[in-house]
Symmetry: C2
Subunit: 394 residues, 2 copies
Amino acid sequence: MATALLFGVSAMAQQALWGRAAVKSPEINPDHSVTFRLYAPKAIKVEVTGDFLPTQKIQTPFGEFDGPGYAELKEGKDGIWEYTTDGPVAPEFYNYTFRVDGQSMVDPSNVYINRDVSSLTSILLVDGDPIIDLFKVCDVPHGTVSKIWYHSDHEGIDRRMTVYTPAGYETSGKKYPVLYLLHGIGGDEEAWYTQGRASQILDNLIAQGKAEPMIVVMTNGNISQHAAPGEGPEGMKSPNMQLPKTMEGTFETCFPEIVRFIDKTYRTKAQKQFRAIAGLSMGGFHSCHISKQYPTMFNYVGLFSAAISRENPGETDIYKDFDQKLATQFAPKNRPALYYIAIGKTDFLYQDNQNLRQKMDANGYPYVYVETEGGHIWRNWRFYLADFCPRLFK
Amino acid sequence: MATALLFGVSAMAQQALWGRAAVKSPEINPDHSVTFRLYAPKAIKVEVTGDFLPTQKIQTPFGEFDGPGYAELKEGKDGIWEYTTDGPVAPEFYNYTFRVDGQSMVDPSNVYINRDVSSLTSILLVDGDPIIDLFKVCDVPHGTVSKIWYHSDHEGIDRRMTVYTPAGYETSGKKYPVLYLLHGIGGDEEAWYTQGRASQILDNLIAQGKAEPMIVVMTNGNISQHAAPGEGPEGMKSPNMQLPKTMEGTFETCFPEIVRFIDKTYRTKAQKQFRAIAGLSMGGFHSCHISKQYPTMFNYVGLFSAAISRENPGETDIYKDFDQKLATQFAPKNRPALYYIAIGKTDFLYQDNQNLRQKMDANGYPYVYVETEGGHIWRNWRFYLADFCPRLFK
């Protein structure tokens, strides 16, 4: 009892030290409305912003954009501010922050945090929809998620990736197909694992019998970077959107060394028919160029909101002869079993993707096209992954 | 160029959406002082608290405790508040938060966050000391860190653990010794990986030739819990310090199923002479009881600030006959190659550890004793791990 008490005291003391507010936030109410609370006794104005609120126009030096709206919290007793949504919130995996007198902050009562480049947001998962429930950790067999390093001979540095191996991999003795899953600009090898909910989506689809057990390799597509911010020898610098060598061909050119590393390190089915590559935004751009540069490597290609407008953006020759390389990729002996193009109706890359479709159509290259509501957002990319995986390796 | 511009816009818009303050914080200055900054144009009082500041007495309902002090930031122009430490800050891996008019918050300019139970803190690593530099990601070969699930037959649930395998494990074909590394109360399978910097410490010690390449198994010692908060089917609930079944014997009783899982799943040297167990606080308590309950299982035992005062705290019989079981553990045929006891001078468990030492001394049981400054804090536990590992498997 004495020690139990001491631990209790230690916990109490710790809470006192770090000053955690004893308010519950967020709270999902029985009617699926959500209440947000913040202890801020001296604040003048407290707002919440998140992608559960109706969008509003945001003015930037580069033009007008749709952004999430703001809602004001009202001050109640004891310095606790509160806001309840106007009715139920649709099932989704949301991000939100508070703004207190102009200062943005994560919700101090919510330990679940997401980092996107250099922004922190609090996480809110509202369940109750079959697609959204794929993003939850369910009571199903779980794959293993590993942070593993490979040596890039091309770059002369060690680099980190995230690898998902399906439940049972360690002891099954079997070989598995591989999906290479690529992030967007500003992202890294953590992006699909954290915001993308890739391991939850795979666990759940496999458990439901909807996807084949597969290895998923989440690379770091910023070839000059060892690892995600804080995880490499660069140290704990502030993350930078403008990294060198992201879309100039190096990553695509030396991608085969990643495939060789995976085939050497994991029990893979190391043939084209068992390999897929997909990515979002810059990762869709990478997937497009890698798959046409190496037309005998991937049998399944997924472009999720792909940034495929740059036809000759870099120094290397990987972007040259786009049409000719695409023709080679779609020649009968190379033609992928699936070429999947998905884009949101309000995505700023919408027209670029329509242009690619026109080119494909004009040449009779088959592909699957998925169009969703919304823009260049994770909500779409999680959905595309959940929609793409069941089509693989069948 | 068009797409590059659009990405820039997207990034700008995103920053505008989430309202990130464009201040640099923390900033380590050339003289190793540290400057903290916060944009808070309407705040009345802004403070920073962290373990780099001199401690101050904190009053709680349970008594007086040493906690980190607070320092006030001064408001400068454009609503940016600033504080620079009074001279250089000693090398260490620090936690800190801001307090704005009474509301605690992480530093919105610093994406590096730590969660300890239900508290979030910002991270500051000041390097320049050989021990502290072990906590950094250095340009050395890196082991793999995996989140892997095992089935607990005893509890009938799948449970998650963190496993470090040393650089080269995947392709070496060799077998490795295993250190089981246990967290404290309120912690989970993430604690040693995040706050404990275990993978960095092991990478660096192995690269320096100071520690043998070993597998490190970081279990979740809260036996009723599937996984760390947010990572299990319990969902994104607020973390709870008071979990059921943490120190009542179940975890210790069924620990052999973890060892069997590891020996089945990894290439281990599956004999006592190649097994170590260590833990901090509750994990030291667990390590003490597991190692004496199964005296033929572990050859190296580490008690880091161990909570070993409870002699018969639970329902099961694992805590019974302490003296007799210790005698069996230290009988010549079982005697561990190393029994390591480490404690800080101001730890609230100091006297309990001295009592254990007296018992060991009275019976002539050999052990290594390490006493440090400070109390029941991660600074000590990281140091103990760095001091303990080089003594293993030699």
